[in-house]
């Protein structure tokens, strides 16, 4: 799905060489309730945001949070109904990495959330030239599965999901 375009971005020149850098939010403070064995903690927006904020950008040594690609206000979760919706904002409207970034977010959520969740990952409306096409690819289960069979793509996604050293 994105094989061709991703290759160009990785090897060649950066599309957006000097992005604005945003501050990282600190670790979520641990509350007394969270330390209490008995009290259940529901899955909330911040928890989902913490899952995806540290994903590495495919072309900068920065996280999606630092590039403001993901923001907590664009994360919506409903624990009871088992739904998650994440909007992400590519740094520039013609970013060829958009699909790859979306795929990384999607894979991170698949690996980190209970199976009961239905996940919707899409571009913040009006922020990308091929918004519709990218959203369609990300929503298509089979295409996502096929993308992860492609070892080159899987490699890039894994790099985005590896812990920064």
């Amino acid at each position: 799905m994105v094989g061709a375009s991703s290759g160009a971005g990785l090897g060649g020149l950066l599309e957006n060489a000097n992005p604005l850098i945003y501050q990282r939010s600190g670790e979520r403070p641990i509350t007394a309730g969270e330390e209490d064995d008995q009290v259940p903690d529901s899955i909330d927006d911040r928890e989902i945001f913490d899952l995806i904020r540290s994903i590495n950008d495919p072309e900068h040594p920065l996280t999606l949070e630092e590039l403001n690609v993901v923001e907590q206000v664009r994360v919506k979760v409903n624990d009871k109904e088992s739904t998650v919706a994440v909007e992400f904002t590519p740094t520039i409207p013609h970013c060829s990495m958009a699909t790859l970034i979306g795929l990384s977010i999607k894979v991170k959520l698949i690996r980190s959330l209970p199976e009961r969740f239905k996940m919707d990952v899409h571009i913040t409306p009006g922020t990308h030239a091929s918004e519709h096409a990218v959203n369609k690819q990300l929503a298509d289960k089979e295409r996502v599965a096929a993308a992860l069979e492609n070892s080159h793509l899987l490699e890039v996604v894994n790099q985005c999901l590896s812990a920064r050293s």
Binding site: I30, E34, E35, D37, P40, D41, I43, E47, D50, L51, K108, R111, S112, L113, P114, E115, R116, S151, H152, L154, E155, V156, V157, N158, Q159, L161, S162
Partner: protein, 985 residues
């Protein structure tokens, strides 16, 4: 004659042997022997040179190198003995050797380093040595070790000598490494770290003002570069330079330096750069403040500060307040360097900030301004008191006081908090505040101390400020605050009958806190302590008394006792006043009085007694030995003979004889005896000790309630721990062991005897008493006891823990620092052995005992021991006790990271057990198990791959755990397992 000649020859002969050994062999031992001979005067350096003779001309460079090496090593040890003439000859010799083969050079440099340390080296020779080094040797291509030697030679010369014509050459050869960019190679035998090089290079660069004209432009260039490390290194080097530079060196560069530092702080990219920039500015200002002016010179400090003020002041006044903090930090860094700088800056900035405060009306903006102002006030406090006629800040006093009043009256807690801090700083300036100012301040503090629950931080801060200011102005606090608190305590109380609302109780508790907080001066304690004691008497007799309130009074007393400790007179006053009163109240409560209303027994409740124990203990630890002896002569007879004469109220309906056939209420008070006698300094003699110890032993295994027995056992152990070694101690121990053994035999006192054994063991383990291993063994034996086994296992936790009331450092107990490590080494092998030998049903007791010991030690200490415990730890994973599970997991986790090869052998067990434990009912166990599953990914991938799908599938469950902290670990672990063997990881 012949004998003398022989004597002179003999050492030369021996010397020749040593030299031959060294040059031919590969052992360095002979060099030390030769050096020792030179030091002791048995031979001279000249003789060493002569003995080396031929080998210095040997055609083989290795042999020559070895010869020079020997001489250099001798010189390194003996350079203080050298005469000027010898130094000159040796220096010329070494300079000549610089032309030799490159294999020889390292040893030649060592020799020159030795000579550079000599105090008698003639001035011209330093120049000649440096010239020779730079001519003959290409320093940049030497190994790190040898470059380091060259720098040492230069640094040594710098310290003492003029290096005249070589400044620029020297600068070039050293500065080309700046900033140091070096990563130590793996397995570097020299162990040189990047930081070492940075520091030694900095030492050279900043060693002389003569480098200034070359160095400052270089530093400026590097600060302006993009590299973070270069910025940091340059700012730190600039900082170091300021220690040796003066006005002259800095003059031409000040504007550029200020521009660069300002830029780094304003557009801060990293906190470290900001901090180093501020530190460099501080040093620049300090350097300019220090310089002695020539008559016609301009005062650079003044113009430098003017330009800083010029660039920063308008930021302080801008309505959006964007750059206020960086500006304030820059100004404070410059102002903090000297009294002169402080005056110059604050006289401009304080009026400006006062004006800004009044111009802004929002609490948040006012808070920012007051916080900045506070920083400048603190600087005034630091520098203000230096020989001035005028009291610093006095010209701003009125506006400052009204500003602080506004802040304290503001509804915003944040602004109040800063206001309280500002008030404390103003109060600390001697002579600044008048009595009226202080009374007004006290009104504010009083009001803030009683604020509602949600602004608790503010009331705590207000009380703390009262305490700080009260040490400085006790009389104002005694006249203005203490009576109001007394009244408040009383008022709340008269309402008792009509309304026992929670608000009254809360106010009374706050009042008790405020009373203890303000008791920071001896004269105040004399007012507040009687009040608190009176209130305690009153409360425990009241109809509606409850233990919470009694405990609250005790807490306040405890705080006051702590505040009295440092001053002997206050300490004695507190002890003498509070201890007899508390004992009297407790004795009264223990009387079998039928008329006594039930609440009178409040003081005998366990929690209340514990609170009283901490008051008595804190009031006794700091007594001088004489006064302690005076007090112990009263307290011990009270408990042994019922001598109540010294108690404040002493007419009781019946005798107080807790150790005799008395009621169980009286026996409970042994806890108070413990609080007193176990807190005394070691050298205080305790009267009737034999009898007391005997009584304590008897009570410890009495049929009474466990509380009294435990108190007696603890008291016995506390005294035992401090008693000097000798016959008497041995007798106590023997009696204790007889008591324990009798008690442990089947019968009604097994539990009491076990408690006694535990406390006695602890007393001995802490002081490394030889008998402690024997007692520990006895304790371990009980692990397989059907009845006492679980208690014995938990006993190990008590042995390792710090106790709050007895056998603690504050009470002067004999505690060796490494006792936990030692106990671990001594007892773990036996525990392991016991575990293997024990029948299945008691094995968990051994594991739990072991777990308590392992938990008490820091992991790095344990790490080397863990592999030997591995098989046991693996078995412990199947134990059902969650304490055991948790400690086992926390031991295995570092092992997985540290010894992946060994752990690989057990992969099957580890995966299965960890996955099982990730579903444990205990959250802590689930978290630890998931952390171990994550740590498993450090094992070699081929070992893990067969388990990959199983683990990923199993971890889907904890992803939906009800606890967020568990889910977080599951996500991390599962993410890491997904990456195993996958491309891109």
């Amino acid at each position: 004659m012949a004998a003398a000649a022989e004597e002179a020859l003999a050492p030369a002969g021996a010397l020749g042997g040593l030299v031959r050994d060294f040059v031919a062999g590969h052992q360095d031992g002979p060099a030390a022997e030769v050096a020792a001979d030179v030091k002791s005067g048995r031979c001279t350096v000249l003789q060493v040179v002569e003995a080396l003779g031929s080998c210095l001309e040997n055609p083989e460079p290795r042999t020559r190198g070895r010869g020079i090496q020997l001489l250099s090593q001798v010189l390194l040890q003996c350079h203080p003995l050298l005469l000027e003439k010898e130094v000159v000859h040796l220096t010329l010799f070494y300079e000549n050797q610089l032309k030799d083969h490159h294999l020889v050079i390292p040893s030649v440099l060592q020799g020159l380093r030795a000579l550079s340390m000599s105090d008698v080296l003639p001035p011209g020779l330093a120049v000649s040595v440096l010239k020779a080094i730079f001519q003959e040797v290409h320093v940049q291509s030497l190994t790190q070790m040898d470059r380091h030697t060259v720098y040492s030679i230069i640094t040594n010369f710098m310290r003492t000598r003029e290096e005249g014509p070589f400044v620029e050459e020297l600068f070039e050869v050293t500065s080309c490494y700046f900033p140091v960019d070096f990563t130590p190679p793996p397995n570097d035998p020299h162990g040189i770290q990047r930081e070492d090089l940075i520091l030694s290079l900095r030492a050279v660069l900043a060693s002389t003002p003569r480098f200034a004209e070359f160095l400052l432009p270089l530093l400026l260039e590097k600060v302006d570069s993009e590299m973070l490390s270069a910025k940091l290194d340059s700012l730190q080097t600039l900082n170091a330079c300021c220690a040796v530079y003066g006005q002259k060196e800095l003059k031409d560069y000040l504007p550029s330096l200020w521009t660069s530092i300002r830029r780094e702080v304003f557009q801060t990219s990293s906190e470290r750069v900001e901090a180093e920039g501020l530190a460099a500015l501080h040093s620049l200002s300090a350097c300019l403040s220090r310089s002695v002016l020539e008559a016609d010179a301009e005062d650079l400090l003044d113009s430098f500060l003017s330009s800083i003020l010029e660039d920063c002041r308008h930021h302080l006044c801008e309505p959006d307040m964007k750059l206020v903090w960086p500006s304030a930090k820059l100004l404070q860094a410059a102002a903090g360097a000297s009294a002169r700088a402080c005056d110059r800056v604050t006289s401009t900035v304080i009026p400006l900030l006062l004006e800004q405060f009044n111009r802004h009306s929002q609490s948040s903006q006012r808070r920012t301004i007051l916080e900045m102002l506070l920083g400048f006030l603190k600087l005034q406090q630091k520098w203000g008191n230096e020989d001035k006629d005028e009291i610093p800040l006095s010209s701003f006093k009125t506006p400052l006081c009204s500003l602080v009043s506004l802040a304290l009256a503001d509804p915003s807690t944040q602004l109040q908090l800063v206001g309280i801090r500002a008030l404390t700083v103003l109060g600390a300036q001697p002579g600044l505040l008048s009595t009226q100012d202080l009374e007004l301040a006290i009104d504010h503090l009083y009001r803030l101390s009683f604020l509602e629950e949600e602004s608790q931080s503010c009331s705590l801060a207000a009380m703390e400020a009262s305490g700080t200011l009260a040490t400085l102005y006790p009389t104002v606090f005694i006249s203005h605050l203490v009576p109001r608190l007394a009244e408040e305590l009383h008022t709340g109380d008269t309402e008792l009958a009509s309304g026992e609302g929670p608000s009254y109780q809360a106010r009374r508790l706050r009042c008790l806190q405020a009373l203890s907080a303000v008791s920071t001066h001896a004269s105040i304690v004399r007012e507040t302590l009687p009040m608190l004691l009176q209130y305690l008497r009153h409360v425990h007799r009241g109809k509606n008394a409850n233990s919470n309130e009694v405990i609250a009074v005790c807490r306040s007393l405890h705080l006051v006792a702590g505040q009295c400790q440092q001053e002997p007179e206050s300490c004695w006053y507190f002890h003498q006043t509070a201890v007899p009163c508390l004992l009297a109240l407790a004795v009264q409560a223990s009387m079998p009085d039928k008329d006594l209303p039930n609440p009178g027994k409040l003081l005998l409740e366990e929690e209340v007694l514990a609170a009283m124990v901490s008051v008595i203990s804190t009031a006794s630890t700091h007594l001088s030995p004489e006064l302690a002896a005076q007090s112990v002569a009263l307290v011990v007879p009270l408990f042994l003979d019922g001598d109540v004469s010294f108690l404040s109220e002493n007419s009781f309906p019946s005798k107080f004889l807790p150790f005799q056939n008395s009621s169980s209420e009286q026996k409970r008070l042994v806890a108070l005896l413990m609080a007193f006698v176990c807190s005394l300094p070691k050298n205080v003699e305790i009267p009737q000790l034999d009898r007391l110890m005997q009584e304590l032993l008897t009570l410890s295994c009495h049929h009474d309630r466990l509380f009294s027995c435990t108190a007696a056992a603890k008291c016995f152990a506390g005294l035992l721990n401090k008693h000097p070694a000798g016959q008497q101690l041995d007798e106590f121990l023997q009696k204790a062991m007889e008591k324990v053994e009798t008690g442990l035999s089947p019968g009604p006192y097994r539990s009491q005897a076990f408690t006694l054994l535990l406390w006695v063991t602890k007393a001995l383990v802490l002081r490394y008493h030889p008998l402690s291993s024997c007692l520990t063994e006895r304790l371990m034996g009980l692990l397989s006891d059907a009845e006492l086994g679980p208690a014995a296992a938990d006993g190990f936790s008590l042995l390792m823990a710090d106790c709050p009331d007895v056998l603690h450092r504050a009470g002067h107990a004999e505690i060796r620092i490494m006792f936990r490590q030692r106990f671990f080494t001594d007892s773990v092998p036996a525990l392991v052995q016991g575990f293997h030998a024990a029948p299945q049903n008691v094995k968990p007791n051994y594991l739990k005992g072991l777990s308590h010991v392992l938990n008490s030690l820091p992991k790095p200490v344990l790490l080397p021991e863990l592999p030997t415990l591995l098989s046991l730890l693996l078995e412990a994973l199947s134990c059902t006790d969650s304490v055991v599970q948790l400690s086992t997991l926390s031991c295995l986790q570092p092992l997985l990271l540290d010894a992946p090869q060994v752990m690989s052998l057990h992969i099957d067990t580890l995966v299965t057990k960890f996955l099982n434990l990730s579903c444990s009912p205990s959250m802590a166990v689930r978290i630890a198990a998931l952390q171990c599953i994550h740590a498993l990914t450090r094992l070699p991938t081929p070992v893990l791959l067969p388990y990959k799908m199983q683990v990923i599938r199993a971890l889907a469950k904890p992803l939906d755990d009800k606890k967020r902290l568990v889910r977080r670990e599951a996500v991390t672990a599962r993410g890491a397992w997904f990456l195993l063997g996958s491309p891109g990881s």
